[in-house]
Amino acid sequence: MASTDMASEDRMSLVRQIGKSHPDDQKLMAAYGIAGLLALVGAFALAAILVVIKTPAFGLPRGELYYRMLTGHAILGFVYWFAFIQAALMIAGATALRNGARLWSLKLGWLAFAFTTAGLVVNMVGVFSGADVLYTAFPPLAESFAATPLIYLGYLFVAAGAFFITLDFLATVFTWVDRKGSVEAWKRMLSEIHISTFAAICAVPLIFSIVLAAFFLYVPAFLGSIGWISTDAREFALKFRLTYHVMFHIIHYIPAMAMIAVAYVLVELTTGANSIYRKTVAKGLFLMYPAVVPPTFVYHLMADPSITEGIKIIGSALSLLVWIPSLLHMFIVTGMMEAGMRSAGHGLFGWIRHLPWKNPAFASLIMGMTTFGIAGGLTAVLLQEQTASLLHGTFAVPAYIHPMVVGAASLIYMGIIYYAVSICMKRDLWGPVLARIQPYLLSVALLVFAWAGTLAGYAGVPRRTADISFGGRAPESWETLMNVAMGVGGTLTLIAGVLFFVVIGMTMFAGRKLRVASELGGDLAMLEVRPTREFAYTPTALIPGVIFVLVVLMFTAGAFGIIGNWPIQFG
């Protein structure tokens, strides 16, 4: 019994640790979190309009409205929800996971927040003033919209915000080492910190690269769009496209890293499982991202004439490497659960049944990881030079990116938000039944969207097109597939989003008050695992990886099969 008490004491310490963060730091985190949630609410609201326009059964294709809403939806969801929530997570990594340590400068943190918020406002004014440029805002197309300068200016603000908060985080990390010149002291600090805090440190060079690329892109683009400098528009467009894709590619991996970092915290909070592997393995895997990610930007340009074939082939080979750290992290997180659960005497698969499936944060974690694996597999054909032309620019792109950023990253963030709101506001979750359903519904909705959307992509449905009828010339299958993807998948996603907003909103204002943060009860309570034996074997955790590898090989073979049988051969 004593051992069980000790284990549960140990597990509760993370909740206490998070609860101990300083109220001033918590306020900044809360500001970022709430701003992020508002951006997400906006992204979902505009998505509702997109669902109506893009579901052929409704018969309401409205081009101008569609492109405006699509621009706003993507900027709110992909740029601002992530910018805000990831800043909050970064602050949490520097304070809440560091036993109440303080942020280096609160003022700098608030300045960063002000810049990010200003960016959001400027961008939304731009979108609703008629900058129908989509979030990519490629010149020279963007120049034909008078409000385009506001899009570029907003992006410069959000980049400045990201720079300041990352600088603040980095300065905070520096305060953790007393003797700055001592390698030993740095090694000790890096080995002591939480895996997730280490992940945030690994993201710093990537974030600085994004900020640098953003300034290279948007300063001349902004000045050009207001007529202060004149450039050869087409020449500039070519350079912009290349630099843009370097930046855009790296941006994708910040949610991937942050999501995995959050997964390590969630697995501890929900199941109490601890790593059975040396923590340096997980930390080392995070170091792979800054090494592997930047050179793999080429895979976004596989159908471009401006990239030589040799570069595309090298890019394809390198692109395969970006799966590896994520696959191994998924193995470690699953292995933590497996070893922890099986130490209580459960069998080879029996442990899965005893997981806390009713805990919404756990459901977010497990469904998020599953969706991440499936969406990752769907990228296989797009990453390869020889097969990318089958899907480039088709609906298969949003069909994998939405499960990735909503069904995986955002869902896992939602999982930690359930805890953050409960712990920091000392409130029990409101509407536990709704909260239980929400992660499963969101995940299933995105998987329906992914399934029908990917089939639509294979059938040739173009992405970013309001009316896919092409004067009645489009294949009949397009309508059916888009009805399922947008009508069914899209609508279910909206419902799951509303459930999340209602549960979180009501918890903030009407959740039962807790005396202390560590009192967490109900579904969010940590799983009680009573160890009866030592267990360090994780065979089940290997299975998802095996399935993933087989699936990407099959997708590749399938793509080759389709391409080999095209009625028009391209070479």
Binding site: S3, G63, F138, P140, L141, S144, A237, L238, R241, I276, Y277, K279, A303, D304, P305, S306, I307, E309, S316, A317, L320, W323, I324, L327, L328, F331, G335, Q384, Q386, S389, G393, Y458, A459, G460, P462, R464, T465, A466, I468, F470, G471, G472, R473, A474, P475, P531, E534, A536, T538, L542, V549, T556, A557, F560, G564, P567, I568, Q569, F570, G571
Partner: protein, 232 residues
């Protein structure tokens, strides 16, 4: 040091007595590292197996050999829009049929100009079994060339200032819709053209019947869209 602490906790958790503590702790440490590490090594092997895709590229080349290699739209030629417009105009003038469509010649390049929101020419006729060179350029913004082949498509980006050069060989007769799948402005949804692949022998009959021309003419396509899909 960390591993020692973790192993110590594990030993305590199974209730080892004080006498056997030291021995039990060492054994547990050895078991934990041995047990978990072998699975970790297996996970690394599985994760790196994604690189098996690379030999598949070679296998694909062997299964579907192509006369001009298997790779598409490599680095294009940098060309001014006006130069390309001239070539396109000459190509259309030389090969235009009375219905406005253009019949391509397999030993001369096909030129297609992409402009907001149309392709020029807007109907191209090819003969099954022949190989063609296709060159495309945009005069304004980035567009795309997305050929619909029934239940699948081929997609390439068409840029300003950089020619997209493709080799294509139609094998099955039919009418193929080509759409722009890169957002190019508010009229993007209406940017498309047709590629009509005819039986090889049809190419010899340069004069088509009036009825056939009407059937393929852009004005009547809206009414007869069903026939303009790739039929199998």
């Amino acid at each position: 040091m960390k591993d020692v602490k973790e192993a110590q906790a594990d030993v305590l958790s199974v209730g080892a007595d004080a006498a056997g503590y030291s021995r039990g702790f060492e054994q547990a440490k050895a078991r934990i590292l041995k047990g978990s590490n072998s699975y970790l090594v297996a996970a690394f092997v599985i994760a790196f197996s994604v690189l098996l895709i690379i030999p598949m590229w070679a296998a694909y080349g062997a299964l579907f050999p192509k006369e001009n290699g298997g790779h598409s739209h490599g680095a294009g030629e940098s060309l001014s829009a006006s130069g390309f417009e001239e070539r396109t105009a000459r190509f259309i003038e030389e090969r235009r049929l009375p219905d406005g469509s253009v019949r391509a010649d397999h030993d001369k390049p096909i030129y297609v100009l992409a402009t907001q929101y149309s392709f020029t020419p807007n109907t191209i006729r090819l003969a099954a079994g022949e190989q063609y060179d296709l060159q495309m350029l945009s005069t304004d913004v980035v567009h795309a060339f997305s050929v619909q082949m029934g239940d699948t498509s081929y997609n390439a980006v068409v840029m300003p200032k950089m020619v997209t050069a493709l080799k294509l060989k139609p094998t099955k007769p039919g009418a193929y819709l080509v759409v722009c799948n890169e957002y190019c402005g508010i009229g993007h949804d209406y940017m498309y053209f047709s590629v009509i692949v005819e039986e090889a022998e049809a190419e010899e009959h340069h004069e088509m019947s009036k009825e056939q021309h009407e059937e393929m003419s852009p004005k009547t396509k809206d009414r007869e869209h069903g026939e303009h899909r790739h039929g199998k």
